[in-house]
């Protein structure tokens, strides 16, 4: 044991020495109690690589992913696999939002001319890498957002980024262990050491919401941004429900099934942050006590963060929270911006999609709403209503690209100025279409999924805002980070429609009927073909008495 530890120490020293010039790995874990009995835990594993170095000689960065990025000339890549729905109006905002199911978007380098082919290749490769059905991404479910998405990383200001962007989401995708295992393999310590040891799939797939993500982008190495680095960020977001874990006192052991076996020896920085702002209203104690408590003032919002520095000494750590009183009625205060999306109408003829956005601030907010309807849900621009009006003054700019059957989705983007303290309703109608018979899912299905809409906004206040600033890589960047605007991209909830479905048992019935008819026809035909026809002399028609007599005669025989 002693030998092993010494070896490890040497190893770490050696690694650190190496890393002076190359890769850097940091792991962070963030906990935040959410209003109404939920707990948010967010893992973030960041690997920084000098992008000048060839990725084939990467040290800590995941080589398989780095190869993909360099091969397809990807500037920036975001992939999330999510199960469950983040409830913004209750929980506030996550660090990184994700659409239910699988979501992938990427910017390609300006050198790439045939973006669509590269995009298809990229999604197919990632599909193999993460065992997800990303290979179903095709032209018919890919859009190029014009206003809603902007690169998170460093790009040259002269560059036309929009044309190099592709976005697709697969709301039907079910996320499970098979996606988590390859994801864990990308980490330098895999799941044996460090925070990733907590990611026990038995526990995390029992949460109310879990989202696994991979984000690759370019960040500036220094403030003048002459050199860039490649940042590989792997994230896991989990939301636990106190009701389901049966208590609002939690500990790492309770949440993840085991304690934390120290930091990853390869990481330069391993920290656990716990948001203890709610301590004032619902008092609780942390055990063991945190290394230090930081007060962060962001905008006019104060956040208290308890910080633990975790060392790679292999000691089991179990951080726990104990509430002093029994759970009280949670007071849910709505975040500055929240939204709801649902399908209107009933029957199999027409329907409508409604997106309701509520601005809870005292200042107007500009948002971009991206509606992305699959081709089998033809939305009609003529039926677009904002607050019931066809020509609304709220709409500042609009982009619409009509879909084409089996080739292109319907894509609508609206830049809307939301008045303060108001709810804006965007309605658009669609018609139900008939699919070809092979296009229906082969198995029993709940219905057809409509993906989430994207809402990107610049929030004037940092209330409920937990995202890192665009220049930040780790959580210490959010401390006292006051800005004029806080940019964020939300995903609304998806929806489901049931398309008119033909009676698939009919062909079966037809086959049964046809077989019966054939069988019935076969008998007489067989008879005629195999039996000899003999002429029988026909006499005069018999009288009734004669017939009766004959009957009796036969009986007697």
């Amino acid at each position: 044991m002693d030998f092993l530890r010494r070896f490890l120490n040497y190893y770490i020293f050696f690694t650190c020495f190496l890393c002076v010039r190359c890769d850097e790995f940091k792991e962070e874990l963030f906990f935040k109690p959410l209003p109404s009995t939920h707990l948010y835990s967010y893992f973030q594993f960041v690997t920084l690589v000098d992008s000048e170095l060839s990725s084939f000689h990467s040290h800590l960065a995941p080589r398989s992913l780095a190869e993909v990025v360099s091969r397809f000339q990807v500037e920036e890549l975001h992939l999330t696999l999510t199960e469950g729905q983040w409830r913004h109006h209750q929980w506030g905002y996550p660090v990184l939002d994700a659409a239910p199911g699988a979501e992938l978007y990427a910017w390609f380098s300006p050198d790439v001319t045939d973006v669509d082919t590269q995009w298809k290749k990229l999604s197919a490769t990632l599909s193999g890498l993460f065992c997800a059905s990303l290979n179903f991404i095709d032209n018919f479910n890919t859009v190029t957002p014009q206003m809603a998405l902007w690169p998170m990383g460093a790009v040259k200001s002269s560059q036309n980024v929009t044309s190099q962007l592709r976005y697709a989401s697969l709301p039907r995708e079910i996320v499970c262990t098979e996606n988590l295992t390859p994801w864990k393999k990308l980490l330098p310590c895999e799941s044996s050491r460090g925070f990733s040891a907590l990611l026990n799939s038995r526990m995390i797939h029992n949460t109310n919401y879990h989202s696994v993500g991979v984000h690759v982008r370019k960040v500036c190495k220094s403030s003048d941004c002459l050199e860039t680095q490649l940042e590989f960020k792997q994230t896991v977001a989990l939301v636990y429900d106190y009701d389901i874990i049966k208590s609002n006192d939690w500990s790492l052991r309770k949440l993840f099934g085991q304690g934390l076996p120290g930091a990853c020896p390869l990481s330069t920085d391993s920290k656990i942050y716990i948001d203890i702002t709610s301590n004032s209203s619902q008092p609780f104690t942390l055990s063991p006590p945190p290394d230090n408590v930081i007060l962060s003032q962001r905008g006019r919002t104060d956040t208290l963060l308890a910080v633990y520095n975790i060392h790679p000494d292999g000691k089991m750590i179990n951080i726990g929270v104990k509430h002093k009183t029994k759970s009280q009625l949670p007071v849910s205060i709505h975040p500055p911006l929240f939204f709801n999306r649902y399908v209107l109408g009933y029957g199999k003829e027409f329907g409508g999609i409604v997106t309701e956005i509520t601005n809870n601030c005292l200042a107007p907010i500009n948002v971009v709403v991206l509606e992305n309807a699959p081709w089998w849900l033809p939305i009609q621009l003529s039926t677009l209503r904002v607050n019931g009006e066809a020509e609304s003054k709220l709409v500042q700019s609009q982009y619409y690209s009509p879909g084409r059957s089996r080739q292109k989705p319907y894509h609508l983007e609206l830049l809307i100025k939301l008045p303060p303290k108001s709810t804006t309703t965007i309605t658009i109608d669609f018609e139900f279409v008939f699919l070809k018979w092979q296009e229906y899912p082969p198995d029993a299905n709940h219905g057809f999924y409509i993906g989430s809409a994207l809402i990107s906004a610049n929030l004037p206040t940092a209330r409920n805002y937990t995202s890192l600033p665009i220049t930040g890589t780790t959580f210490d960047s959010i401390i006292n980070d006051t800005k004029l605007w806080y940019p964020i991209v939300f995903r609304t909830n998806g929806a489901m429609v049931s398309l008119p479905t033909p009676d698939f048992s009919m062909p079966y019935n037809v086959i049964c009927l046809a077989c019966t008819v054939v069988a019935l026809a076969f008998g007489p035909l067989h008879n005629i073909c195999t039996k000899e026809l003999v002429l029988k002399p026909s006499g005069t028609s018999l009288s009734l008495t004669q017939k009766l007599l004959n009957l009796f005669k036969r009986k007697r025989d």
């Binding site: 709301p171 919401y209 109408g345 029993a444 709940h446």
Partner: protein, 723 residues
């Protein structure tokens, strides 16, 4: 029609047979239909129920419900809350419900709705629904199941639903920490019974108050900018329909879940019930999927709760097959009687139109109405534990669903809790009735044709000695340009001037206009109640039900007097026999079509219509002038029968019979007045139901049934010259 318009049709064998036997055949069809219908109750003619949807996996879970104490606690708390604060009012204890639901950690919302009463002076009613959503973990709220209880105040004439609310809340508390839910569960308490439910459903599906009523928009929701036909645009000063606004403003919902797969409604006044009645009949006779009904019966049985449907009780088994037959028939009959008016017998009925399968579980005691229940005193009493287990198993079964309910039957009748009659088994009885009408129409058609043919035959034989067949072939080829026809007419001019006139008077236009006019009158009557109530309240200070009732009666009487003269509006001379026969054929076909198509959705209504109107349709015949005294007497009798089956008279007779059934020991005069009052209420309810919920009954009977009756009345009252 090539075959039928063949002039020598009279000589074809089947035509001769048809003409001879159509009377007995129609009669046989009618009797056969009734016999078939009665037979449906027998074991040999119906089937044992079974599960089509394998995903339901009924009863395979280990029940864990352990919230009996909690349910009792909620029950007592709500009782005392109602006793102290809500004894006098009609209000719902919204703060208590919201408090309890948020304590369980549900997402709680309230929903307000307003009803502007469509008739009379336009009173405004307000209501509130409370609902809490249990968000299923790991899902993105794409599907939901509804558990709902209608709130009934202490002063309401119906039983309260306190135990239902307590059971629902206790179940919510039990279900909230479970991690196996795959669909959200919406716990809903509605106010004002069906009104609250309708408002909530409309709000959930985003139907707004500007939209047209359902029957006007044909079920699809209103799209802005769609041109629409309204009376208002023609006559702006007369209030036809409340200015195109729906009377019910459903308001908006602040929180929602995904598409609703199924709904279970609870009506329990106390946990100590004797048995549970499973109610299924919905709006316009729509029924929930048979799988859901079976599921509920099966799981009640598994949880040790006695359950019933109509006159079929789970704890009674028939002694012999005759007994079974009788019970089966009466259960089926009772279900059909309930379906005819199209009014749902619980809040579940409003879900069906939105494609949501729903049933109501109603707790019943031995004292409950609905006649005497055999051996009910021997049953042990139920408790919250058993009810909770039943509810848990039902919801966990529904939770297993992989797709919407689509298997099993949507059109069926139940002969007992575990036996059903499918659409294939009950349709033949109705088809026989309609076939009788169609045979009658066919025979009339060939008769008219043949008379023409005979007459032509005679004429041609007289004019030239050529074989008539040749001539007729020519005549068949085209209508009047043929020289043969010309010749015929020339001859008729000389010999029989009257017959010539009849031939020319066969004007399709005249009949068509009359036909259309009568139907337009029906459409007008359908739209009239709003106007009647308005003028009734303005000029006579009468409540809307009185003005609508007497308004409709006076319109009916007026129509009885004027419609026989309607066909003379467009023409001077008398109406010909052929014309009236054609009208008779048309109306027979229309009645048969209407009965069949109504029965596709609401078999009971279609069948009742067919049973009542087929005799009238079969005996109606064109009355020829000067055909003897006996004939005239018969015609008078026919007119009397026709008056007896006037829709209003039928309604009145039904209501009187019903009053007699309810209060048996009363003088006939008192019963009559009670029946008349009931008829007044019934008309009012059907008008309001049609405006609020989209019930068809009033629209169907005024815009289709009444015109059909009026045309029969015309046929019976117009005398024509012999052909």
């Amino acid at each position: 029609m090539g075959l039928l318009s063949d002039p020598d049709v009279g000589s074809v064998k089947w035509v001769r047979v048809l003409k001879r036997v159509h009377g007995p055949v129609c009669f046989l069809c009618y009797v056969g239909a009734l016999v078939w219908f009665v037979l449906l109750g027998h074991r040999e003619f119906n089937n044992e129920t079974y599960f089509s949807e394998n995903a339901l996996l009924p009863g395979l879970v280990t029940n864990e419900f352990n919230a009996e104490q909690t349910a009792n606690q909620y029950f007592n708390e709500l009782h005392s809350e109602l006793q102290t604060n809500y004894e006098e009012t009609d209000e719902m204890p919204v703060p208590w419900l919201v408090g309890m639901m948020s304590h369980i950690h549900l997402e709680v919302y309230t929903h307000n709705f307003t009803l502007r009463y469509p008739l009379g002076k336009g009173q405004v009613f307000k209501g509130t629904n409370v609902y809490g959503i249990l968000r299923a973990p790991r899902t993105s709220s794409l599907e939901a199941i509804v558990v709902s209880v209608p709130y009934r105040s202490v002063g309401s004439h119906q039983k309260t639903t306190v135990a239902g609310i307590a059971l629902m809340l206790a179940f919510a508390k039990f279900a909230r920490p479970q991690k196996y839910w795959a669909k959200d569960i919406i716990f809903l308490v509605t106010q004002h019974d069906q009104l609250g439910m309708q408002a909530w459903l409309e709000a959930y599906h985003g139907l707004h108050s500007e939209a047209e009523p359902f029957h006007a928009s044909l079920g699809s929701f209103w799209k802005p900018g769609t041109p629409k036909f309204t009376m208002d645009s023609f006559l702006p000063n007369i209030p036809f329909r409340g200015r195109g606004k729906k009377p019910l403003n459903p308001g908006t919902l602040k929180g929602r879940s995904g598409s609703i797969q199924a709904a279970i409604l609870l009506e329990f006044s106390s946990p100590k019930i004797k048995y549970v009645e499973v109610k299924i009949e919905g709006l316009n006779g729509q029924l929930p999927n048979l799988d859901l009904v079976n599921l509920v019966h099966k799981l009640c049985q598994k949880s040790g709760i006695h359950h019933s449907f109509g006159k079929s009780y789970s704890w009674i088994r028939g002694r012999d097959s005759m007994d079974d037959w009788k019970n089966g028939f009466w259960t089926m009959f009772e279900m059909m009687v309930g379906q005819i008016d199209g009014v749902p017998d619980g809040n579940h009925g409003l879900f069906h139109r939105f494609g949501i399968e729903a049933v109501t579980l109603e707790g019943r005691d031995e004292m409950d109405p609905g006649g005497k229940v055999p051996r009910v005193n021997t049953l042990s009493r139920c408790n919250f534990y058993k009810l909770g287990i039943a509810l848990e198993s039902i919801l966990r079964s529904l939770n297993n669903l992989l797709e919407r309910f689509h298997q099993s039957y949507f059109f069926y009748m139940l002969a007992s809790t575990h036996r059903f009659i499918s659409i294939g088994q009950y349709m033949p009885s109705l088809c026989l009735l309609c076939v009788a009408m169609l045979i009658r129409a066919l025979s009339l058609w060939v008769t008219t044709l043949q008379q023409d043919g005979d007459y032509n035959d005679k004429q041609t034989n007289k004019t030239n000695k050529k074989p008539s067949k040749h001539k007729l072939e020519k005549a068949k080829d085209s209508d009047s340009e043929e020289p043969g026809e010309q010749e015929t007419k020339e001859v008729t001019k000389v010999k029989t001037p009257e017959k010539k006139k009849a031939d020319i008077n066969m004007s399709v236009l005249n009949i068509g206009v009359n036909y259309l006019l009568v139907h337009l009158i029906g459409y007008g009557v359908m739209n009239s109640p709003f106007m009647m109530a308005y003028y009734g309240s303005v000029y006579y200070m009468k409540p809307p039900e009185v003005s609508v009732y007497f308004g409709i009666i006076s319109i009916a009487v007026l129509l009885i007097f004027i419609t026989p003269f309607l066909p003379y509006l467009l023409r001077k001379g008398p109406i010909s026999y052929e014309e009236l026969s054609l009208v008779n054929i048309l109306v027979l076909t229309e009645l048969a079509t209407v009965c069949l198509s109504v029965a596709m959705q609401n078999f009971s209504l279609g069948f009742a219509m067919a049973v009542i109107y087929t005799p009238l349709a079969l005996m109606t015949s064109v009355h020829v002038r000067g055909s003897g005294k006996a004939r005239a007497c018969l015609q008078l009798l026919k007119r009397l029968v026709c008056l007896l089956v006037h829709p209003l008279v039928v309604l009145l007779v039904c209501m009187v019979a019903y009053s007699r059934h309810l209060v048996a020991d009363e003088s006939w005069l008192a019963t009559l007045s009670r029946g008349s009052d009931a008829a007044m209420q019934a008309i009012m309810f059907s008008v309001v139901d049609s405006m609020l919920y989209g019930n068809w009954l009033f629209n169907l009977s005024t815009s289709i049934l009444l015109p059909i009756w009026l045309i029969f009345w015309q046929i019976l009252n117009i005398k024509v010259n012999a052909p």
